[in-house]
């Protein structure tokens, strides 16, 4: 492999892992903490990414774009919760309704802009300034891009994880967790389940929006189709992380979700390398490889149990 290939092999999944770790975190809060199957992600992701590119093309400051994107995410989560809590629409359905509505808005924005919201090399993104700094310092294009993106997303990720961890240890955060896990117990302990669910979904969707805006500024393009498969991606990284990494405490659980994102993207990268040319079985191989990875801990456990049982038998064998 050439230098470029090595660089791409290690850095590309790192970038994706960092960005999609936020998606996994958002999905984690909805699916695990709140116990809500939130499908709005498939519509929220493309809306925020199209919105972000569109506004950058209009000249907005990228940092402002990020802030507004997060607010859009929070709003989406709140509306989603209101639909299911007060209009009594089943949560699964309200997520689908949000997905369709947000998807439709992303299409409208695209049409309004003539079919594309692609960014050119000179359009400013949240990464541009730092990339410029490194380039002036003499670093080559690849490393300027790579290091700048890793630093920026890494810092954002660290802040987010710290904030999320802190939040869920506060009185309100604990109340949100209770509302998700045992509604009756929560009510009997003075918690307004409805209010806490709204707050929880707002946080979850805000994280998804953050991932979307960082992603489109990284790829410099956005289409309404970006949302396809995002739920599956989020859940895959979530389950992958939980299965492989320890997650006894809440803190460990948060980290394992992120870890799952990294594992997922490196696995895909390996797959691309091993896979033959123009192979159409990509998705099948992905499924098989994921099954293999997820089965490893279980298989190791069985192997360990066998070994220890055999040892016990020899130790306790009756003396003849």
């Amino acid at each position: 492999m050439s230098t470029f290939e090595w660089q791409n092999f290690f850095i590309s999944p790192l970038n994706s892992g960092l960005i999609f770790g936020l998606l996994a975190l958002g999905v984690f809060i909805a699916f695990r903490v709140l116990d809500i199957a939130d499908l709005s992600v498939e519509g929220l992701f493309p809306l925020v990414s199209v919105f972000s590119c569109f506004t950058i093309l209009q000249g907005w400051n990228p940092a402002l774009v990020i802030v507004v994107s997060v607010l859009i995410g929070a709003a989406s989560g709140i509306i989603n919760a209101l639909l299911s809590l007060y209009l009594k629409i089943p949560p699964l359905l309200s997520g689908i309704v949000m997905m369709s509505a947000l998807f439709a808005i992303s299409i409208i924005i695209i049409h309004f802009n003539g079919g594309y919201v692609n960014l050119s090399n000179v359009d400013p993104t949240v990464y541009s300034w730092l990339i410029g700094v490194f380039k002036t310092a003499g670093l080559n294009t690849f490393w300027s891009n790579a290091v700048a993106k890793i630093i920026i997303v890494g810092v954002i990720d660290t802040l987010v994880v710290a904030l999320v961890y802190f939040f869920f240890g506060t009185e309100m955060g604990m109340a949100v967790r209770a509302a998700g896990k045992n509604k009756q117990m929560a009510r009997a302990n003075g918690i307004s389940v409805n209010q806490m669910t709204i707050i929880g979904l707002a946080v979850s969707s805000a994280l998804v929006a953050l991932a979307a805006t960082l992603y489109c500024q990284h790829t410099l393009s956005a289409t309404p189709q970006d949302g396809q498969g995002m739920i599956v991606l989020g859940l895959s990284t979530l389950f992958l992380g939980e299965t492989i990494l320890p997650h006894r405490s809440f803190k460990a659980h948060l980290l394992s979700v992120f870890g799952g994102s990294f594992i997922y993207w490196y696995v895909i990268q390996i797959l691309f390398k091993i896979m033959g040319d123009g192979d159409y079985f990509l998705y099948l191989y992905k499924a098989l490889l994921l099954v293999l990875i997820l089965a490893i801990p279980h298989l190791l456990k069985i192997a360990k149990a066998k070994i220890s049982r055999r040892r016990q038998e020899t130790e306790n064998a009756p003396v003849r």
């Binding site: 994706s16 498969g229 320890p246 390996i270 123009g278 990509l282 990875i293 490893i296 801990p297």
Partner: protein, 326 residues
């Protein structure tokens, strides 16, 4: 060691192993192809490209090594694959706007400046692939699949009794959106009434066509991957109508469900892109190769179906030189 750690060690060794597996450099020029999804049009564009390269002396496995990747229309996979190809190839070819865009951005951020050729992109300037059609200006050039939309719609003027024209497209396809804008201008210029319908996916095609009101005479279809892949549905839906529509398509591959198809042959488009790639590999600077459009004199007429529908095609059109009558 906890089982989680064991798994990570296993993964890490897989990583290194896979990297090592890639074997030694063969010394051949590497050509990377990123085809956005499995659609007939895009596959034709790929095949044409490979054939043209071979004709110019760049055979796969001999002078060059071709790698094809297909993300099956998944955005995130598309980006990831673009990164891999951009790092590993000496020239890349992106089929359809998302793949071309991803390749261009991947090449730029890798700091490599290798040539990027594209095809099946309707608006390369709007997609920020090139600065201008006649002077691309950088390392990106290719073939636009913008067909002769105005010319084709103007053919309708030769038909008798055209008052209203409808357009149908898939709302998520940027190429289609761009073409519909051009179509609507031409329709208005001809003084016809105009309506439009959009679908999100193939399953909505039948109901969309049924929803076109009875006073509409013709239907215009742009080069649209989803619709092109489902022409049988279009055909059926039109046959079920009280008053069948005169259907115009922009991709000759769509002729099955169209009365007239004028414009793009994706295989030829791919060949043109392949010729460009050959030029670049022999030393031409991509910045000097203007973006091409397909040979737009192609005109296919589906007379058999038109007769079955009871649509009379004016003799003038049938007599067009080079028209292929089915």
């Amino acid at each position: 060691m906890k089982h989680g750690n064991k798994t990570i060690v296993l993964l890490a060794s897989l990583l290194v192993g896979a990297a090592a597996l890639s074997g030694c450099d063969s010394g051949k020029t590497k050509v990377g192809i990123l085809q956005f999804g499995t659609f007939e049009a895009l596959t034709n564009a790929k095949n044409g490209f490979v054939e043209a390269l071979a004709d110019e002396g760049f055979k796969d496995g001999e002078q060059i090594e071709i790698t094809v990747k297909n993300p099956e229309a998944d955005s995130a996979t598309n980006s990831q694959m673009a990164g891999v190809l951009a790092a590993a190839s000496d020239l890349v070819y992106g089929i359809a706007t998302p793949s071309a865009t991803a390749l261009k951005n991947a090449v730029t951020s890798a700091g490599r400046e290798i040539p990027v050729v594209f095809s099946a992109v309707t608006d390369p300037v709007g997609a920020k692939l090139v600065a201008a059609l006649d002077q691309p200006g950088a390392n990106v050039t290719g073939m636009s699949d913008l067909g002769p939309i105005s010319e084709e719609l103007n053919l309708l003027a030769k038909f008798v009794g055209i008052d209203k024209v409808d357009t149908l497209y898939t709302s998520t396809e940027s190429n289609s959106v761009y073409q519909i804008a051009i179509a609507r201008t031409t329709i208005a210029a001809n003084g016809w009434g105009e309506t439009d319908h959009s679908v999100n996916n193939a399953s909505e095609i039948a109901s969309a066509i049924a929803a076109v009101s009875d006073d509409v005479d013709a239907l215009f279809l742009p080069t649209d991957d989803t619709i092109a892949a489902n022409m049988a549905m279009v055909k059926n839906a039109n046959e079920s109508r009280a008053k069948p529509l005169i259907i115009l398509g922009c991709d000759v591959g769509m002729i099955d469900g169209c009365v007239i198809a004028m414009g793009v042959d994706y295989f030829e488009l791919g060949k043109q892109a392949g010729l460009m790639a050959a030029q670049i590999l022999t030393g031409t600077d991509p910045a000097d190769i203007p973006v091409g459009t397909g040979d737009s004199s192609l005109l296919d007429i589906n007379k058999t179906w038109a007769d079955a529908l009871g649509v009379a095609i004016p003799a003038e059109i049938l007599a067009t030189t080079g028209a292929e009558i089915k």
